[in-house]
């Protein structure tokens, strides 16, 4: 875990706050030392409530973008139906999808614009969703849970997907066959344990999950848990200390 820089818990002064806030990504590189501006801000923060409030507001504002992207499209659902609402939500996030029975994908272009052709087919459910590198989180999943024939879901590189998101995927237990979770920085073993409800899962991609300390062991446990599923992205030797191979000596941290 990255060590926090300087934390002085004085009786009445608030804890140290920096404008260059420690992001919620568990980067493997150590944090850079605080700049002169940050240290100056820390001194001000110790003495002035206003500075402390400003710094709290700035982190709240940063979360506002994510919250806005994951709002519940209740009106769209009521007016146009759940399928259209799900389609509109996915396109608004910047992802792509494919309706069941059709072969063409709906995606926004590089500037975020998309065509509204999905309005013509309000009764077709979505079969494949590509949400890689979007800002979806567990609250936004509310817009998609109605698609109970979903067969493939790609969440590659989503920074807001965490264990609580995976716990909600049980609604797709009867249909989901392909799940891609690679490069998601917040997923841990506790969330992967929730995938046991996806009995029809055939392919699961768990490559490059930085918070998994024993990817090889987790792969074995996942294969035991989901016997018909192929787990890719983790080698059995990852996370092991091989006694005869000096270069592969990655330290193993047991819980």
């Amino acid at each position: 875990m990255a060590a926090p820089v300087l934390c002085q818990m004085r009786r009445r002064c608030p804890v140290v706050a920096y404008l260059s806030v420690v992001r919620r990504e568990y980067a493997s590189s150590p944090p850079s030392p605080p700049s002169l501006f940050s240290r100056f801000l820390f001194q001000l923060n110790q003495h002035f409530h206003d500075v402390e409030h400003l710094i709290n507001w700035s982190s709240w504002l940063r979360n506002r973008v994510v919250r806005r992207k994951n709002v519940f499209y209740g009106y769209t659902q009521k007016r146009f139906g759940v399928n259209v609402a799900a389609a509109y939500y996915i396109l608004g996030l910047g992802g792509g999808f494919r309706f069941a029975g059709h072969s063409d994908w709906f995606r926004p272009d590089s500037r975020g614009k998309f065509s509204y052709d999905f309005l013509n087919t309000p009764n077709s459910t979505i079969e494949e969703i590509d949400l890689s590198r979007t800002l979806i989180n567990h609250a936004g999943l509310e817009n998609i849970v109605s698609q109970n024939e979903l067969r493939s879901l790609s969440l590659q590189g989503c920074p807001e997907v965490d264990d609580w998101f995976l716990a909600r995927l049980h609604v797709f237990g009867e249909s989901l066959q392909w799940l891609d979770l690679s490069h998601c920085p917040h997923i841990t073993v506790g969330g992967l344990a929730a995938l046991q409800h996806l009995r029809k899962l055939r392919r699961l991609d768990v490559s490059s999950l930085p918070r998994l300390q024993n990817p090889g062991l987790v792969r074995i446990l996942l294969e035991e848990m989901l016997p018909h599923c192929e787990v890719i992205g983790a080698d059995y030797e990852q996370g092991l200390i091989l006694t005869d191979n000096v270069e592969e000596a990655e330290p193993v941290r047991h819980k």
Binding site: M1, A2, P4, V5, C7, M9, R11, R12, P14, V15, V16, A17, Y18, V21, V22, R24, H47, H49, I55, N56, S59, N63, H138, D163, W164, L166, A167, R168, H170, T188, V189, G190, G191, L192, A193, A194, Q196, H197, N214, L217, V218, L221, L222, E224, M225, H254, K255
Partner: protein, 486 residues
């Protein structure tokens, strides 16, 4: 000339070395003097806590608005919500008094850390749901800006309750209540159970109830620390000391039947420093009793329960400590990641711990066989005689296992009806009870903390109505029974 120059050089060298060592020692002295000077200068600046009168370190303030007795997860949850909901900055001065800085006997940290929605009482289900929502967004609530994000290590594996044929109808009723309130639970028949979890022996099981979402277990110490850090960063005072008494003022009041009762109002809380006889009377307006297993002692200090029997004053707070054992076992053939928090109708429970084939198991003993609560020693015979036979019968892979460790902790057991007691006592105006959770305190702590703060600051419950947990039910002898306790 040769020898002379050598000796001169030697002399020069030793002289240089001596000078250097003298310089070094002078430098070291100078460094420490500079350091002392810097410390004195910092103490002289405004904002430091130096005072010319030598005060014992760690004394609580002389006056506080709200004193919370007990620094467990419930006490700190109340402290956090008090600071969150105060309308003005520094509107209330909150003091949390905890008697053990090491938390060696605190129930919060010795807990198994599970959270579930599978209760039979509506209030319990709502509290758990609200707490799960809180934990979902825990960094929005308890994230301190420069600290690491809070990592609860939440395992989303769900709870699995197994029911025998006579308990199955109760389970079905509970299931309808839970679904109505929004908990995601499913019922499984024995065949479905066998299909999902082939390592369970479904003999004698009629029905199983499995939680799909918002259920699992997490690290209680992380939650406690997160509440504590956030509350202290918002300005809550913490004091390590023991509450030894209260000073109250009392008024006579007449009931509708014509009896006279003494209504007390707490004026001062006496807080005694650890390992010392020195105590500080803290003048306060409201006292919150979140002392967990010792809540009965705190209520006793106020005289609750010391009146004549059959009167209001004669009924004590029915919370007492009950010791429960938790055993860590290692089983090489046990279930893997799919192992939920399994609770059998015979009373034992089991959950996975980590990825190495370790499990945590235990059982609540019969009422007549309650272990002695004076210490936290573990009784290993209890595991061999009572728990292991049931474990082997229900889960055949566990016939070959090894007990690698065990610990014991206290439940703040409500002997009346095993449900929480939240609210004031009719005879003590300003003490709020937040106790009696009988093993569910940790999972309900965020929501109960908020409810108690609504009671204190707003005068009534706003989000979840916990008036069913009021103290009055104990005085009227009307228990509300929870049918799903572990």
């Amino acid at each position: 000339p040769f020898k002379g120059s050598v000796s001169l050089k030697c002399f020069a060298l030793t002289f240089k070395k001596d000078m250097q060592s003298v310089c070094v020692s002078v430098n070291a002295d100078l460094e420490s003097q500079f350091k002392a000077f810097r410390e004195k200068a910092a103490a002289a600046m405004p904002g430091s806590d130096w005072s010319p009168i030598q005060v014992t370190k760690g004394l609580p303030p002389e006056r506080a608005d709200i004193v919370i007795v007990g620094g467990g997860v419930m006490g700190w949850s109340v402290a956090y919500w008090l600071k969150k909901k105060e309308k003005v900055r520094d509107g209330v001065r909150v003091l949390v008094v905890e008697k053990d800085p090491t938390y060696s006997q605190a129930s919060s940290v010795l807990s198994c850390g599970g959270i579930r929605q599978q209760f039979s009482l509506k209030e319990n289900i709502l509290l758990s749901l609200a707490s799960a929502d809180f934990l979902k967004n825990i960094n929005d609530h308890l994230g301190v800006v420069n600290e690491d994000p809070v990592d609860l290590q939440f395992n989303h594996s769900g709870y699995l309750f197994l029911a025998s044929p006579d308990v199955a109808p109760i389970m079905e009723e509970n299931y309808t209540i839970q679904r109505d309130l929004g908990a995601k639970v499913i019922l499984l028949s024995p065949t479905q159970l066998k299909d999902r979890f082939p390592w369970i022996n479904t003999d004698g099981i009629a029905l199983a109830s499995y939680g799909l979402e918002n259920e699992g277990w997490f690290d209680p110490w992380t939650l406690l620390n997160a509440f504590r850090c956030k509350a202290m960063s918002m300005g809550v005072y913490q004091c390590f000391g023991e509450v030894t008494g209260f000073r109250c003022s009392s008024q006579k009041a007449e009931t509708t039947d014509g009896d006279f009762v003494n209504i007390k109002r707490i004026k001062y809380v006496d807080v005694r420093m650890p390992n010392s006889l020195e105590y500080q009377p803290v003048e306060c307006a409201v006292v919150v009793n979140a002392a967990g297993a010792s809540s009965g002692k705190i209520a006793d200090m106020l005289g609750i329960g010391h009146g004549p029997k059959q009167t209001m004053a004669g009924i004590p707070l029915p919370v007492e400590p009950r010791k429960r054992f938790v055993y860590v076992v290692h089983c090489p053939d046990g279930p893997g990641l799919e192992c939920p928090f399994l609770i059998d109708y015979s009373g034992f429970y089991l959950r996975r711990e980590g990825l190495g084939g370790n499990y945590i198991t235990g059982m609540s003993p019969e009422e007549t066989e309650e272990p002695d609560v004076s210490n936290l020693d573990v009784d290993h015979d209890f595991f061999h005689d009572k728990v292991w036979p049931l474990l082997c019968h229900r889960l055949p892979p566990f016939e070959c296992l090894k007990v690698s460790g065990a610990w014991a902790g206290y439940y703040d057991y409500n002997t009346f009806d095993q449900n929480a007691i939240v609210g004031t006592h009719p005879l003590v105006n300003n003490m709020f009870f937040v106790t009696g959770f009988s093993g569910h305190g940790l999972q309900q702590s965020p929501a109960v903390g908020r409810a108690v703060v609504e009671l204190i600051l707003d005068g009534g419950f706003q989000t979840i109505d916990l008036s069913a947990f009021d103290f009055k039910r104990i005085l009227y002898h009307e228990p509300i029974l929870e049918r799903n306790i572990v």
